[in-house]
């Protein structure tokens, strides 16, 4: 025990003696590098690194050092990773985390570290910035509701769906996605008679499949990864034939590439997302080109995670440039620069923050189409610019409707 303590103290001394010139700016990047999300989390890191690479690794003579840390999708691990980055590695800025509940945890943590500036990675829970926001926590991206903007109107007006049942996972991100969809859909006159909340990682959806009302026009499915594959497979095997509407992470290319009888259900299915891999905007093409050049071993196009980590790191770089890399005033000038920052995003829109430090974003409505060779892909049917967190509504009314939950919103 004592020997261990001595070894520990010796290690501590070495760590404290590590050279750190005053002009270094250290950026800690937190992403999920273990478990089921590891490949996607790695892509988030690529996004942040790309923004730093673009500056050549220094700003006005200040070296930018990137230190990555892994979390495992749990809030506890994100908090531990952030604490280590701040207290042990001495970072000035944190970029991350990846998933919703982690974001809420880091938002709470940021209040204990006023000397560090937090920039959200890709976590998209609504209350990370909307309620109880933190002065040093920024999100240069949207929440899960913003990511669904356009889909509710598209489903009602263009597809003609009047009544939709919801199947979604039972935690903060899908709640927020359902809010984004229902806000427009219910306002247009649509009805959502039934919502099914399933545990994440659920394998057997038969109780849901057989409880779906026969008189709905379509299903809004906000499940991710294997959950979506399992549900869609079981639904189509049971003879289900309702059209599908997808959430932001439901119908990604990996699902379209997987084999299954459900594929015919998906053709024509609309979905909302802030990132479309093969979008043909000029800025996106340039972004994809620099991504593939910098990371030949990466994906064929930046994922939603690379895109969002990139935007946050990019914002940090631009604001650092504005203050000549000087954070010595307790980040005051840097944060003022972040607050007033506007820049062109990879999707061609103009990124800027609202008063809660949440991004005003571009959003896409996509639909699944069958390529000539029989494979399926997503194509853009509508681009909605300048989507804010209030979804264009009056702030007081929007806040008065309360935090998202299983029962909120509701329009049966």
């Amino acid at each position: 025990m004592n020997k261990l303590k001595m070894a520990a103290s010796a290690l501590a001394l070495c760590a404290m003696a590590a050279p750190a010139s005053a002009e270094d700016v250290k950026i800690g990047v937190i992403s999920i590098l273990e478990g089921a999300f590891a490949a996607l989390g790695q892509d988030g890191i690529r996004g942040a690194e790309l923004a730093v690479l673009e500056t050549g690794g220094e700003i006005d003579g200040n070296t930018i050092e990137v230190i990555t840390m892994s979390s495992d999708a749990s809030p506890d691990s994100a908090v531990n990773a952030a604490r280590k980055l701040i207290e042990q590695d001495g970072v000035d800025i944190i970029v991350g985390p990846l998933s919703g509940s982690e974001g809420l945890a880091l938002r709470d943590l940021s209040k204990s570290y006023p000397g560090v500036t937090f920039l959200n990675g890709s976590s998209a829970a609504q209350d990370t910035t909307l309620r109880d926001s933190s002065d040093n926590f920024y999100r240069f991206g949207g929440d899960g509701a913003q990511w669904m903007v356009g889909v509710g109107d598209y489903a009602y007006d263009d597809m003609g769906y009047k009544s939709v049942a919801v199947i979604a996972e039972d935690y903060s991100f899908p709640y927020t996605q359902v809010l984004g969809f229902m806000t427009e859909f219910c306002e247009a006159g649509g009805k959502v008679p039934e919502k099914f909340w399933t545990p994440i990682g659920n394998k057997d959806y038969s109780s849901v499949v057989y409880a779906i009302p026969q008189d709905v026009d379509a299903l809004f499915v906000a499940l991710g990864g294997a959950d979506a594959v399992n549900f869609l497979t079981q639904y189509s095997q049971a003879g289900g034939d309702k059209p599908i509407i997808g959430g932001s992470i439901t119908i990604d290319q990996s699902i379209l590439d997987s084999k299954g009888p459900f594929k015919k259900l998906l053709v024509g299915a609309p979905a909302g997302t802030p990132t479309v891999g093969d979008y043909d905007g000029d800025e996106w093409k340039a972004f994809t080109a620099s991504y593939t050049e910098a990371f030949p071993d990466g994906f064929s196009a930046p994922s939603i995670f690379a895109h969002h980590y990139y935007m946050s790191a990019k914002a940090a770089m631009l604001a650092l440039d504005e203050v000549d890399g000087d954070l010595s005033d307790g980040h005051a000038a840097f944060r003022a620069a972040l607050n007033d920052l506007t820049f062109t995003t990879p999707t061609g829109g103009t990124m800027r923050l609202d008063k809660n430090r949440n991004g005003v974003i571009d959003n896409f409505v996509t639909e699944v189409y069958e390529r000539e060779d029989g494979t399926l892909g997503n194509r853009v049917v509508k681009v909605v610019r300048d989507v804010d967190q209030l979804l264009g509504q009056d702030e007081a009314a929007f806040l008065a409707s309360g935090p998202v939950s299983r029962d909120n919103p509701s329009c049966p």
């Binding site: 261990l4 520990a8 103290s9 501590a12 749990s74 809030p75 604490r83 042990q88 039972d170």
Partner: protein, 322 residues
């Protein structure tokens, strides 16, 4: 008395370590050590490996969060001098219930039953919103303030954890020498003979589980103060396995092994990422844990004990205290 002397060097860390080392390494080791001690106690003296210790720690943690200040607006705020005894009692009662359910099982069957309880509780917390707030759980949980000093500040939290750890060790060593403690060990060695003597085996087993629940609960309370949050992730398979790993690498021979295991585990978990490529650190952790289990089947304390014994070998023939 000799054991009390061990405490003295443990008062030095606050003087030489910075806040990160004191809180993230030293305090966290103590807290995980207390939870692992509850498992080591059961494994060593009752001969049963329970996978429900993280669950019981979680029950205490959830109690503190539910009956204390939190930022999710669920629960009934009570003063800490009510919520802490309440959490400890609930932990002890849950421990007793687990013991009651698992009382007839041994070895792998006891592991399966307690694991099932742990996993069932995990899924229950994810889906119950009235008491556990589902997936998100409780955040913004604050440790009590006494005379204007928050127990979450690095030094108070370290000292409180140290005091609880010392008390837990003292309780364990006292308990195993008591008549009931000896009965528990008799049940471990020869349950049939204990029965033949006319002593029921259920009471000792349930009491042992209740006592270990109390220890786990104390660790759970400290853990929720340290993390300032508790959620379904705190009672999942990850923490369940962490506690088992800590007990095993520390060694089950002496209750103090839990703390040795905790220090090694926390150091590894915290610094593996600095020693190796950041995407590969779990490999390093796994390899080191594997090496410890292969090289020191009796745990690290056994290894240290053997080395010390070899140094002293010529003149002393020391007997183990257990």
């Amino acid at each position: 008395m000799k054991q009390a002397l061990i405490l003295v060097p443990l008062l030095i860390p606050p003087l030489v370590l910075n806040d990160f080392w004191l809180t993230q390494v030293a305090t966290r080791s103590l807290i995980l050590g207390i939870m692992a001690l509850s498992l080591s106690f059961l494994a060593t003296y009752l001969g049963v490996v329970s996978f429900a210790q993280a669950t019981i720690a979680g029950i205490a943690g959830y109690t503190i969060a539910f009956f204390g200040p939190n930022s999710v607006g669920i629960g009934v705020p009570l003063p800490f001098w009510i919520s802490i005894p309440l959490a400890l009692s609930l932990a002890a009662i849950s421990g007793a219930l687990v013991g009651l359910i698992a009382r007839r099982s041994r070895g792998i069957y006891a592991i399966m039953i307690t694991l099932a309880i742990g996993v069932a509780f995990f899924y229950f917390t994810r889906q119950n919103y009235t008491f556990f707030n589902g997936w998100t759980g409780f955040s913004g949980v604050r440790a009590p303030e006494i005379a204007g000093v928050s127990l979450r500040d690095p030094l108070p939290l370290y000292l409180v954890s140290l005091a609880v750890a010392a008390l837990a060790l003292a309780l364990v060593s006292g308990f195993v020498r008591s008549p009931l403690g000896l009965t528990i060990q008799a049940v471990r060695d020869a349950p049939g003979r204990v029965l033949a003597l006319g002593i029921s085996v259920t009471t000792p087993i349930v009491t042992a589980f209740a006592f270990s629940g109390l220890l786990a609960g104390a660790g759970g309370i400290l853990n929720v103060w340290y993390q300032e949050r508790v959620s379904s992730f705190s009672v999942g398979l990850g923490p369940i396995i962490d506690i088992l790993i800590i007990s095993v690498i520390g060694g089950l021979r002496h209750p103090g092994g839990a703390f040795v295991g905790a220090v090694v585990f926390v150091l590894l978990e915290t610094f593996a990422v600095d020693l190796i490529d950041r995407e590969r650190f779990n490999t390093l952790i796994g390899v080191v844990l594997l090496l410890i289990v292969i090289v020191a089947p009796g745990g690290l304390q056994q290894l240290a004990h053997d080395w010390l014994a070899r140094l002293r070998a010529p003149d002393t023939n020391e007997k183990s205290s257990v």
